[in-house]
């Protein structure tokens, strides 16, 4: 028998008490891991909006919040903006939403996350890369077509559609020619069709919702953005992908802070639980500790044993909590596809390292005092303990 095997064995002398302590800590670990996976997933999605090929600047009508779903800018600006210094390419996009999704009936509808319809983006097929669509599984629609669409991967899963299927939009059947995945949950949760087709369907001829601008390789994104606003004062305003990502990241950082606060709370509650468990253990085993001292065990070995037992408890709680978090998040996202379509949980190693660190710290903090107490026991008093 090794000292390590003794340390691993001892916590299970009182299975009920140890199990309860493990459950208490595992709940904290579960919350830390689950929150980390969800916020990490949202962060990844935000980062993907800054993809290399995609537009860096989005131009909207001055005074608009950019979230409108109809055309508000004259599409002549799409060509005009190419004259602004530093602009490499532009693409007008029209955004609309539609709730009818049945394959044959225009009246069938499906409940959607947030109660909104399918987001449909009208864009020229040769400009798809500016919207973050680098490649299409299948083929992209042709600009002249009036019955072809491509569908985001998440939307396709949600509607159970694939290439070759038809989808009913605005009372008209469209053939899905391809699927795409950008990594941006908003884009992947929508459909794209030729700009002119959507303009016709929504009576927005000659209008776009916004214009995507790709800057030249050596240009400064902020300068180009400012030049556009200066060139078209009171007509156009701009947002950069980086600033949008920053805004989202700010929101996520609040969640991150909350996650850390929960971690600290978990450490505190867990440590109190572990201290209680380990003090009970030391009380119950006082005579045994006396015997260990009598047979020559050093104080630091006794300290190491009790501290080790405490850490064993919390590391088991780490494994249990992590497994429950992973299974729980996956099950939740599978059971609620509308949420699952938006959030792709992150499995970044730092989430698990953080949970491991919390478990380890709880083990050390929770075990330190009882271990010190045990190591300082007088052998004769410990042996007399009833």
């Amino acid at each position: 028998m090794s000292f390590l095997s003794l340390v691993v064995k001892n916590p299970f002398r009182n299975k009920t008490r140890s199990s309860l302590a493990i459950v208490g800590i595992a709940i904290g670990i579960m919350v830390i891991v689950a929150l980390g996976m969800v916020t990490g997933g949202l962060k990844n999605s935000t980062q993907s909006t800054l993809k290399a090929g995609a537009a860096e600047v989005t131009v909207i009508q001055a005074g608009s919040n950019g979230f409108g779903s109809s055309g508000s800018i004259n599409d002549s600006y799409v060509a005009d903006l190419l004259n602004v210094s530093g602009v490499k390419d532009t693409a007008g996009t029209l955004r609309a939403s539609n709730t009818s999704t049945g394959t044959t009936s225009s009246n069938s509808s499906q409940a959607r996350f947030g109660g909104e319809g399918i987001t449909i983006t009208g864009i020229d097929s040769n400009k798809l890369s500016l919207a973050g669509v680098d490649s299409v599984n299948g083929t992209a629609f042709t600009n002249s077509s009036t019955n072809e669409v491509i569908i985001g991967k998440t939307e396709a899963q949600s509607l159970n559609k694939t290439v070759g299927d038809t989808i009913n939009l605005y009372g008209k059947d469209f053939t899905i020619t391809g699927t795409f995945e950008t990594g941006n949950f908003m884009t992947d949760n929508g459909i794209m069709m030729p700009l002119s087709t959507l303009q016709n369907l929504t009576s927005n001829d000659g209008k776009v919702s916004d214009i995507l601008v790709k800057v030249t390789d050596n240009a400064n994104v902020t300068s180009v953005s400012q030049s556009i606003e200066n060139t078209y004062p009171n007509q156009l305003s701009t947002t950069t992908a980086a600033s949008s990502a920053d805004r989202i990241n700010q929101g996520l950082s609040f969640i991150d802070t909350a996650s850390w606060a929960i971690s600290l709370l978990a450490i505190f509650i867990g440590a109190v639980g572990v201290i209680n468990t380990m003090i009970m253990t030391v009380y119950e085993r006082t005579r045994e500790i006396g015997v260990l001292k009598a047979v020559g065990w050093k104080d630091r070995r006794i300290l190491g044993m009790i501290l080790g037992e405490s850490i064993v408890l919390t590391l088991i709680a780490f494994v249990v909590g992590t497994v429950i978090a992973i299974v729980g998040v996956e099950v939740l996202l599978t059971l609620v596809p509308s949420v699952g379509g938006i959030i792709k949980p992150s499995f970044a190693i730092d989430i698990f390292l953080r949970a491991f660190a919390v478990a380890f710290i709880v083990g050390v903090i929770g075990g330190l005092y009882p271990a010190y107490r045990a190591s300082r026991l007088s052998p004769t008093e410990a042996l007399r303990y009833e």
Binding site: F3, K9, R13, V291, V295, G296, K298, R301, T380, L383
Partner: protein
């Protein structure tokens, strides 16, 4: 060390508790030769267990001189190492660890030695054979009888080749027949392992099994009798 030289030498040892109100040892003098088997007898509260704790370095004296196995216990700081190397304890209650097997219980004192896992196994098995417990090495103490538990405790006391075995009422929790078996076992191991055996008891028939009986009264050695 010469066999005639004392392995335990105590002069004027004093120990009091409760701010000096209880004088457990009051100028104790005692010499024990290497390889001797002595019984320390006396009424309850006479100081015999305190004396045993002093010899085993489980407690420290207030004043006086105590040297055990050439180590001055009044000056030595590393008493754990001393206990690990020189002393084997047998308690009235076996004090085995309930969740460990018989074999693992015997190995417990060896954690402070540099013995490998194989050496620990070999030594523990050898001793469990010598106390006739080799067929129960994988049993937990809760499945053993009182006598069997005490046999395991004796094996545990001997595992680090100590020079002295300190037995505090080793038969106190056993019936007389089992007690006699345990005493004979202790006596056999004392001669076979060549260890000094110091046994505290208040039962005369147990004390009479020793070579020498020391009677303690009021914290002092009052009568010192050679039985054989």
């Amino acid at each position: 060390m010469n066999k005639q030289e004392p392995i335990i030498e105590i002069k004027g040892l004093k120990k009091s508790y409760d701010n000096g109100k209880i004088k457990a040892l009051n100028g104790m003098d005692l010499k024990v030769k290497k390889g001797e088997f002595i019984s320390i007898m006396g009424p309850s509260g006479s100081g015999k267990s305190t004396l045993l704790n002093m010899i085993g370095a489980l407690d420290t004296a207030d004043e006086g001189y105590i040297q055990v196995a050439d180590i001055d216990l009044m000056k030595t700081k590393n008493l754990n190492e001393f206990r690990s190397k020189e002393i084997g304890f047998v308690f009235q209650m076996h004090n085995l660890i309930p969740n460990l097997t018989v074999l693992e219980n015997v190995q417990i004192p060896m954690f402070e030695t540099k013995a490998s896992s194989n050496e620990m196994n070999e030594r523990a098995l050898e001793l469990l054979k010598s106390v006739n417990m080799e067929d129960k090495i994988n049993q937990k103490p809760t499945k053993l009888s009182g006598g069997e538990r005490q046999r395991v405790a004796i094996a545990r006391a001997l595992v680090n080749h100590p020079s002295i075995i300190l037995a505090d009422e080793p038969t106190g929790a056993l019936d007389s027949k089992t007690g006699e078996v345990i005493l004979n076992l202790l006596k056999d191991l004392h001669s076979h392992e060549n260890v000094t055996l110091v046994m505290v008891t208040h039962e005369p028939y147990v004390g009479n099994m020793a070579e020498r009986i020391v009677t303690v009264l009021d914290g002092k050695c009052q009568i010192d009798t050679n039985v054989m």
